[in-house]
Symmetry: D2
Subunit: 402 residues, 4 copies
């Protein structure tokens, strides 16, 4: 029986470490943000705390990957938290202690993983747990183009499913509630990874614990929307998103393409919210200057308040998952108010259906939503001058009692 | 206000002249099939009678187009029924008399049209009704690759929408209930014709009469599913479909891609049902021998009874529109029984949601559906040998009371 | 026997009406430029006078095509010069009188033609000379995407070759020495038109007169270089070229791809030289403002003197055909000196082989050539600051005695 | 100064181990074939003896690669001959002793190499000779899709050129005369590897020894023909070629596309000649049955004698490199006679230029060649019935004294 619909009744909301800490977040930082969330955001539906990529890489210090760097790994090709960054993982305990603490706050715990099997396991020919197979037997000679940690897994190989099962058994033992799987929703090198997605689905269904399955990066191919809906709870419909207006403007077009696929425990994903204090150790999102020194990106979001509100309204009315990307503890009052805006919180909970409508003006985009007890209309101005009373890059949101 | 959701509450069912008569059907043949439908099929939900392509081409005699042939046209670039084929159209009455007769039987009347404006109108520079523009002003220098009748219409041209409005005003006056627009859902030469689709939508919304909007040919691009759902009631998800197993087998893959887009007055279309007596004057569907003489294709459907039933169950459980393509008056009892099968008729009416499921056997495809008062499970064998009690190319269908 | 190698022993040099007069040149203008060429340029190897597109369109007045405009045509689907523009063509004499005058000056006469058969001939079903076929029998339902004059010709149709033969018989009777065939070297809609190119080749070989065959537009596909070399004397390796630095800079990359294909009566073509007084009635080449009023483009070339010299050296050392695009009679002394520069004239005549070389500096491009009695080295600076003594956008050219 | 034109004055001819021994040839086998060549073929222009892929893989036993297998490597990321297969390589002598023996026979010695740096060196972070860099510093995260031995080399990395230089310094010390570089002429995953090709060229130019540079696999992109001609002596214009008629028939089309690029020390390559006794330990070339047990492919060439002759004539008149793929010692008299046919040997030496011609019959392909003292005409029948006196799949070759 699939666990797909045991979770994600609504678009998931939470925090993710990428936009502020890149590949280098530490246990203290995770816990600090969790505490903030438990105190300020949980009553408003924010509940997931997600540790993003390379928690197994001891030398990670930004969002730049150290090519071919050795990774922390157990004897069965399963990556383990780097103890220098996650001290509670010492003694082989993995993320279990961290998961427990997060659960104790009433929150849910999420981790990132890459499609595939560590390349170092393949070169070391590590045995696969519960089989008489080794990493070389199940590895596929395909790679992620932007990260050198993993090989793919060959779906036809004996031991392949057992490998993914062994990963999720471990994650279940850690209390993981949410898995963001990367290098799988789109690939610039290979066809759609349908079979690895199906292996992940099966591994979750077998692991003894419900978990949200989130697929990255994007844009996921609309052509394969049916397979995404059958296996995952959310998938990126966009490449990495950052705090520049052109990214936000582009999202209107993506939402206009994906809205018929929204709902029923499956949520096309507009990517994280680069709000508040970001770029602390991440150096992404600053194109075309990725080579700037660490700290050069350390900033408050570059979005104006109108743009921030436009983003929150669009994500909410479209029903995208929402993961705050900033250091929560540095939020100012305005930002906190935005995250806890009662109308947005209501809309997240109440909307059952939404769609865009033409407006006769190419700069005015209208979205309508039907909720349980009210309807909602958002009128966005994506142009550069005020129009129909809406400021440029701004939005007017209305609640209509039925 | 859009008329989109005034129609097609269920997937439309009816008859279409293409599979038996190609581009050459006559008034008598249309009426004969309508009478049969009224008598035998209407109580089972079959209601549309559709005259397919080139009713304006006096010399059409098969499914082969006479390249650059002169067409019957009024003084405003609007094609008119060829009187030698549709005698009741004499005196400029168009399809009004035929529409009336079909309505009198309790049925609905449909016609085919091509995207664009007749090339002969452009060369004659015909005026556009209700404007001071001419055909050359609004024509776009783009063409259908497989038929030489029309140029496209330039959406940016003054008079373009007025032209489409004038077409649908005429069709409304004829009592048209269903329009199959061709050369528009996919193109092998040009990008997606979103703007011409939007002009069609607007023309229907303004014409004073509800009409089902059906788009051909296929495969329509899944990438543009949202635009299809916002403007049309059905669209072809496949190229022309004929009575060979490989076409039917291929449809399982297409249904597996499109199922999340089914419903809410928008129906991905598996194309017509090439059943019963077909190929009477059509010479298509016989590839690779399209050059065979007229009459060489005259046949009973080549599908076996298992295949026919498989097709009917798949179209029904997927919720495709269903248009019978054979000469209805030549149906044998078995074929009539298939079209009026009580369980299939119930499923068409009752299903609210359906989806495919993996089966662990690549030859066994399972579809499940939820209905108002019962659920349904269809287990198809798409392989060449019996499996799990299902004959090759066959299906076992179950009704499960909730 | 092919006439391919009877002509174009060197890259052809001449004048073409497009850059100054667009589709609207007149007889007087052609003759005026011819006289200038005979007097000033012929001794330096410039010899072809080419009337570009739409000499058969009476209402042409710029470089913008009047969509679907009626064309001057004889009774056999052959386009004829518009007498209001070419008075000597009156009485059905076509271009024969103009050709004669040009020959009398010691020059050679060229005309433009489009691939295919006039659409108006197809709609009128005009007979094809010397056959019992008509335009509809041989027309192919394919079109040029940027001009509405013609349909393609179906190579498999009986009468197709006869049609092209009838065209070239007419052109031979006019004394045509050079044919620029358009809509054939590349297409944005269709695969490579190999068969129409072969029909053209055969028609020339049969017509009784040697003619240079030039194919447009570009970029011609390098993938089909062999077919180009077997059938044509020159073909465009670039889309339309104008007097902006980015076009000229881009040509270095194209030359670097095509140089091994240069020679033996086949010349990859860098397109016309937009020098001197251009844009007189052409409104092209001013992107992104094509809508500007007639006359707005009327200008001296926007190229600086360094850029003009860079262009002339590159065209010469690469061995491109060279067709001056400006109104010759308005040349200043500097421009005339450029066209008659003794070293460039020598290089055009003497070079047997040339190729680019890496330079260790991405802004410095080196070309070397071997001539009969000397070698040549050109060092181009394609960057924005002086380097190695070469000004930005400039060139240093050396002659090395062997 | 480039060594490009110091070699390959004529299309290279020789023997290659792939078609008979796959990735598993041994020293004895190489020497045995060399001795045969020296005795029987050298006087007829056959001179290169080439050890194909994976001479550094101790466990290779067929043409199937053992995924992720450990490779024999020195301390500087340079692969070394597996001593169990090449005993003379013991003691770190590499291929020097084998090279010497081959030279002593009057022959030339060739080896295969893959683009890039061994993955195992990257994971071990091996130092790069003559630099303070390591394998991780210069590796590019790109891979060959069909073999798991190597990563690419990052052309922008400090140490990258030094690595390739260190490889060719070693090969020069071994007496290598010919290098077949693989995974570089085409890629199914990545754009054209222009920069790695340029690094190879430079490494050869610096290494102190002339070497033929041969690039594989194919089809190399015609779009990049200029870059190929500037850097390499031969490049594959086809994917792997085997002894089935459809491969040979397809080569006519490839030759028709590439002939203008033939000559001047650069030779488009039709791939090896699968003649005589092949498939001894190779299991390729038997698609669609690659899984058949070792030995199942052990065979005499499947080509008929007409086909063998057709192939030899086409390769010769087109001027392809020619590498015999069978076990030479098992040649019968007929095969030896074919390889030493005086007319073919003369043509290889004498032809200066060749090209295909149309024949009016789609089954008859004509090639003409101009030689120093004679011309040649080959008339091939690529159809299935005799035509114009030529047997099906056969050829008639004529020598025409000028």
């Amino acid at each position: 029986m699939s666990r797909l619909k045991n979770v994600a009744h609504l678009p998931p909301k939470g925090w993710n470490s990428w936009d502020c800490y890149g590949a280098s977040v530490t246990e203290d930082e995770v816990l600090g943000n969790a505490e903030y969330m438990a105190k300020h955001l949980l009553p408003h539906g924010w509940e997931y705390v997600v540790v993003d990529i390379q928690w197994y890489e001891p030398t990670a210090r930004s969002s730049i990957y150290n090519a071919f760097a050795p990774l922390e790994m157990d004897g069965h090709a399963r990556l383990m938290p780097a103890v220098n960054r996650f001290p509670s993982a010492a003694g082989g305990k993995g993320f279990a202690p961290l998961g427990e603490k997060i659960h104790a706050m009433g929150l849910k715990f999420g981790i990132h993983m890459m499609r595939g099997i560590p390349r170092q396991a393949v070169h070391a020919n590590t045995p696969i747990l519960g089989t008489n197979r080794t990493a070389r037997d199940i590895a596929a000679n395909n790679i992620c183009p932007w990260n050198s940690d993993m090989y793919g897994v060959n779906p036809a190989a004996d031991g392949a499913q057992a490998y993914y099962d062994s990963l999720f058994a471990l994650y279940a033992s850690w209390g993981v509630d949410f898995v963001k799987v990367d290098d799988i929703a789109t690939s610039r090198l290979y066809p759609f990874f349908r079979e690895e997605i199906e292996m992940l689905r099966l591994a979750i269904d077998r692991c003894g614990r419900d978990m949200v399955l989130s697929l990255s990066p994007g844009p996921a191919p609309l052509e394969h929307a049916a397979a995404l809906k059958q296996n995952a709870n959310m998938w990126r419909m966009t490449d990495d998103y950052w705090d520049k207006w052109h990214y936000l403007k582009g999202m209107f077009e993506r939402c206009a393409k994906w809205w018929p696929l929204v709902g029923d425990h499956g949520w096309p994903d507009c990517d994280m919210l680069p709000l508040g204090h970001i770029g602390i150790r991440s150096v992404d999102g600053n194109w075309p200057h990725p080579w700037e020194p660490l700290g050069a990106n350390n900033r408050q979001t570059r979005f104006t308040r109108d743009e921030q509100r436009t983003m929150m309204v669009l994500w909410t009315i479209f029903r995208s998952p929402m993961f705050f990307g900033g250091e929560l503890r540095d939020n100012d009052d305005w930002t906190l108010a935005l995250l806890t805006d009662p109308l947005l919180v209501e809309m997240h909970r109440e909307i059952r259906k939404s769609w865009p409508e033409g407006s006769g003006n190419k700069d005015v985009v209208i979205w309508r939503a039907e909720g349980v007890s009210a309807d909602y209309v958002a009128r966005f101005n994506i142009g550069e001058v005020p129009v129909e009373g809406i400021p440029p890059h701004g939005v007017i949101l209305e609640r209509v009692v039925k």
